[in-house]
Each structure stands twice: as structure tokens, then as C-alpha cells.
Amino acid sequence: MMMSNVVRTTTKMVSPFLVTYSIYIMIYGHLSPGGGFQAGVILAVSVILLLTAHGHVVMERKIDESQFKMIEVAMGVGILLLVSGGLLFGTMFYNYVDRGTFGLPFSGGFIPIFNILVGLKVGAGFMVVYYALTRWSEDD
């Protein structure tokens, strides 16, 4: 069921900026507080806002539950591969990418990549949880 006109239009106007903001927190996770988990939460919030305001039928034209499941599994596998790449240099979680200079976006080795993967995984995971919780009540 769609909510009223005002709610739909305002969520449409706000959500692209929220997605951009969550990607900012993801990429700058090694330089500022926040990081993958918080960024994933904001990503999920921006999608759930659209889903609440427009209903499931409208949103399924763009993206649906199976794609979220696929993203989550793919990101989990990606994290495992990235982390176990350290085994070639010694231990797991070994930071084998070039560190760069401190304070710039391209620094910190694989930690920004790790944050991006974790953020996408957490966002997709929250979406799967939301679908599982509302499956029995959303009949539209």
C-alpha cells in the first residue's frame, strides 16, 4: 500500500543524497568514525524509506529480494577471499596492499576495500531481514 503523496515525494527527494552520504562514510571509514557497519545501516535506511513509502509492488520493478540475497552472498565470499589473500604473505588479515600516505582516501591498505565490502553486505543483510519480517503482513 502506498502512503500519501507528500511522503512519497519527500522520500524520493531525500534518498539519493542518503545513498551518497552512506558511500562517503564507507570510503572514508579508515579516516573518520563510522565505517562499514554504520554505512550499511544508512544504505538500508534509505532503501527501506523508499520501500515503506511506495509499497512492494512499485519497488520490485527495480530491485527485489533475490538480488539482495545474491549481493549479500557475493560480498561474504569477497570478504573471505580478500582476507585469506594474506595467507600468501604470512597470516590471515595481513595488510598486503600498498599503505599510501596517511590522511588521503587511497591509504590504509585493504581497509577501505574491506569497509566497502562490509557496508554492502550489511546493507543487503538488513534488507533481507526486513523482507523476512514483513513477508506475512505486506500483501500488496
Binding site: M1, V7, P33, V45, I48
Partner: protein, 93 residues
């Protein structure tokens, strides 16, 4: 030295006043006659806490706290919207 501890800057004073107001508003959350009243009280408290976080970011010179204030604002809006949708379908039946 003692005098410095006694002096409170105006921003800290405003912060305490806003916190005190939000504590009083808990009355509306607990004793509200209907559930929308509770949602209104909770929403008001959350906006006040957002302002408190912004003032803290200025007082402590930790400007990254503004990001957390934006996150709190959005999560609060999402919760209120979902509850409002629940009420549009007939509420507590």
C-alpha cells in the same frame, strides 16, 4: 582555578536546558492516552537529542559527530514513518 569550574558557557547551559525539557517529555511517552501521543513525544525527544549532539560536536571540537546526528535524524524519521504506516492500516486491531 575554581572560578573556571563555576563558569558555564552559554552553549552548555542551553544543552542542559534542552536535556531537561526532553526528560520532562518522558511523561507524554509513558502516560500518553493513545499510541500516536507516545510517538509524538518520542519524535520530539529525538529531535532534541539531535540538537544536543550537534552542540557537543561544537563544544568538544569533534566535528565528525555531526555525521552521527544526521544518522540519528534519519533513523528516527524511518521509525516514525513505519509506525504511521501501521496506523494507516487500522492500528491496534
Amino acid at each position: 582555578m575554581v572560578k573556571e569550574y563555576l563558569l558555564v558557557s552559554p552553549f552548555e547551559l542551553v544543552m542542559f536546558i534542552v536535556l531537561f525539557t526532553s526528560i520532562i517529555l518522558i511523561y507524554r511517552v509513558i502516560f500518553g492516552p493513545t499510541t500516536p501521543d507516545r510517538i509524538v513525544g518520542f519524535n520530539t525527544i529525538s529531535t532534541k537529542i539531535t540538537v544536543v549532539i550537534a552542540i557537543l560536536a561544537f563544544l568538544k571540537n569533534e566535528y565528525v559527530l555531526i555525521d552521527l546526528a544526521i544518522v540519528l535524524l534519519m533513523v528516527n524519521a524511518l521509525g516514525s514513518l513505519i509506525l504511521a504506516k501501521h496506523f494507516e492500516r487500522g492500528g491496534e486491531k
